[in-house]
Point group: C2
Chain length 156, copies 2
DNA sequence: GTGCTTGCAAAGAATTTGCATAATT
DNA sequence: AATTATGCAAATTCTTTGCAAGCAC
């Protein structure tokens, strides 16, 4: 992959528990467990998956913690066409996602051209643009290698 | 609004009941009722809204008909960050949506530059690109006029 | 008449909420 | 000590499914 205009997103020392503290929430053992697990996952995840990984933590707490993190802007929620939304750490302020249609793996990317296009569209769309979202559906390299069959819905 | 590179989507004589027939499904009175209602709505809608509008039709049938239409490619399903997905008639093969963050109104648009950007990204993204989705969140002109308060979540 | 359709109600899946108990500050 | 957090179970919300009765072809 070329490196030119596309900047791959690298870890930028996100600290989820700090994000919660900054919102005035208490630093509890349970929250450390949840945020710790999210940080050690290296990609996007669902609430259900987190519950499975952390049987010692109640479902409600997992959901509540996720919601706090989303509200804090530390996680971004990405809607999946069929099924539960996925979450991924918001390592940079504005980015888009690649979603593997086969295995569901989520990546983040940022591309200056996309943002430039948005600015040019602004002049032509009715109303004020307040934001945008873009997802690129891919078959990731490992799935290409395995030539796995599709599991996730794609809006082409 | 300028007309240049952005082509607004106009009705192109979509016929939803035909789309169902083309799939080998029977032309029933109930299905005509559902497709008729969808066609007379001039924007996106939720399953729930359709159920409310058509009290004579069972929920299950509404959901089943919507699914058939999506499978037929006659409707596109668009995931909403918080809440039920919305559906809109797929009048052109590939397009994107504008969603008013205030009233939820959905518009369709197509912009050649967006597609061009996708092609340039293809060279730089790991894996094969199989599709993409883009939503532009706006405050529509009527909401600007009313300066209504936001109701829909926005991923900025 | 045969097989697809429908509507109801029940089942499911995902998420939220009430509330008593436990932990943090 | 006061207040927030947790876990459980029940409640919600959205959607699908089983099934008997009704239509389309």
């Amino acid at each position: 992959m070329a490196a030119s205009a596309l900047s791959k997103v690298e870890s930028v020392g996100v600290n989820l528990s700090n994000a919660l503290e900054d919102r005035g929430l208490r630093r509890t053992a349970t929250r450390m467990t949840v945020t710790g697990r999210i940080e050690q996952l290296n990609g996007a995840f669902t609430a259900e998956q987190l519950c499975r990984d952390l049987p010692g933590v109640g479902r409600a707490t997992v959901y509540r913690t996720i919601r706090h993190l989303v509200d804090a802007g530390a996680l971004c929620k990405l809607p999946i066409l069929d099924g539960a939304p996925m979450y991924s750490i918001a390592r940079i302020e504005h980015h888009h996602h690649t979603i593997c249609s086969s295995c569901g793996a989520v990546g983040e990317f940022r591309h200056s051209t996309v943002e430039r296009v948005m600015r040019s569209l602004a002049k032509e769309i009715d109303g004020d643009i307040v934001g945008h979202r873009m997802e690129i559906f891919i078959t990731c390299n490992s799935c290409l290698a395995e030539s796995a069959t599709g599991k996730f819905s794609v809006h082409v």
